[in-house]
Symmetry: C2
Subunit: 242 residues, 2 copies
């Protein structure tokens, strides 16, 4: 399948590498490909320049957001949460209409150090606040901005390194979640998750449940800081389930 | 140990019953004991009148919030989130000073049906919004209101029925979380959790991590609705942990 990945960060690269390995044709989209390829220093997260990443993966292509989305039969949104709605809304309508868009972005608001109203870092780590939060979600905003696209929220409860390789923990016996208003799109997302190695999927229902998944970000960070490393979450079903 | 439980709802009763079984002296506090005992109908959650509950448990005592807190060596806050800070702040300073206060309340704001700004129920269930959320937590508000008390946030990621009996799922092999700024109080909470049957505890660090635990409420609800019943969450440690 032709799969477009929008974004060139570390998470997006995890999907690009893994999907290529699984035999998919991967097209990576970025705002300005020339600018992305011109960077020669690691980014603020310490991720190597994209050109260096791309140079060892001849099967991958880098182009604009619009061309990547246009080419993809399915699209994965790895654009950062603060810019996702604006960037996706700017695409030609044909690029995303009728397609499954898998969104894993978190709507972090990165404050500056010294912001008195929202101290950064917070007491339990470098945790930005979320916007939207609680009564709306970034996934719903994207869906409202792209009414002809079928948005699925998933991947968001894990580092993308774990998302594409769940078997690194407990033989992969932990749980991934998804939410969306379009059953066909969720089925497509499930097939992708199964291919990554996920066997325990919990469908949380409509896209409004993306609020729960995005708000889970702080919990994930807090547990990661407490354990000092990565981890999985397994939903343990009880005998009293109906 | 003398343990005070503030609140008479279904969750508070789970703790009262279980702690009595474990041999503790339990004192339940309510705003106006006479009013609590006068109720003869189930509450809006379908919970039986407290007098009926109490009549079959002769070891339990019901008194005011103030007298219960005064008598308790440890205090569990089961007052609903919307009223907890006000009710706790109204207690005499001596009632809670120097004591461990375990807080499991969720700061739900119960909208009325038809509230246009915050529809209720939300699309994934009867889920009220949270206040505070994201950049503050109810537990921190309680701690700020009671600076001489040692607040621990825990229990909040589970129904209290599961909190007091974790072994109903997977032989109890799932995870409970706690957060707080006072190590002695967290040790006391850990002993209580161990007595309930919890063996896998993750200390999320300072009380600010209560934000993560309170925001987890929507995730818990969404998963519960998806599964159609109760469940546990197990943190699966990875081999790549430091």
């Amino acid at each position: 399948m032709k799969i477009a990945i929008l974004g060139t960060g570390a998470g997006a690269r995890q999907h690009a590498t893994r999907l290529s390995t699984l035999g998919h044709e991967v097209i990576v989209g970025t705002r300005v490909p020339e600018a992305t390829l011109a960077r020669t220093e690691p980014d603020m997260m310490g991720t190597e320049p994209f050109a260096a990443y791309l140079s060892t993966r001849p099967g991958l292509a880098l182009t604009t957001f619009a061309e990547a989305a246009e080419a993809g039969e399915m699209v994965i949104n790895g654009i950062d949460g603060a810019n996702a709605v604006t960037a996706l809304s700017a695409l030609p309508a044909s690029a995303l209409a009728g397609k499954t868009l898998i969104d894993y972005s978190v709507p972090y608001v990165y404050q500056q150090p010294g912001d008195a109203e929202h101290p950064w870092p917070t007491p339990w780590g470098e945790m930005p606040r979320l916007d939207p939060v609680d009564t709306d979600s970034l996934a719903e905003r994207i869906q409202r901005a792209l009414p002809s696209t079928n948005v699925v929220k998933t991947f968001v409860t894990q580092e993308q390194e774990t998302v594409v390789n769940p078997s690194e923990f407990a033989d992969g016996d932990h749980t991934m979640f998804l939410a969306g208003d379009h059953d066909d799109a969720k089925s497509a997302a499930r097939r992708l998750l199964n291919a990554y190695g996920w066997n325990d999927l919990v469908d949380l229902g409509p896209l409004a449940a993306a609020r729960a998944l995005e708000m889970y970000a702080h919990f994930h960070t807090a547990v990661g800081l407490a354990l000092g490393g990565r981890f999985g979450v397994k939903i343990v079903r009880g005998g009293s389930l109906r």
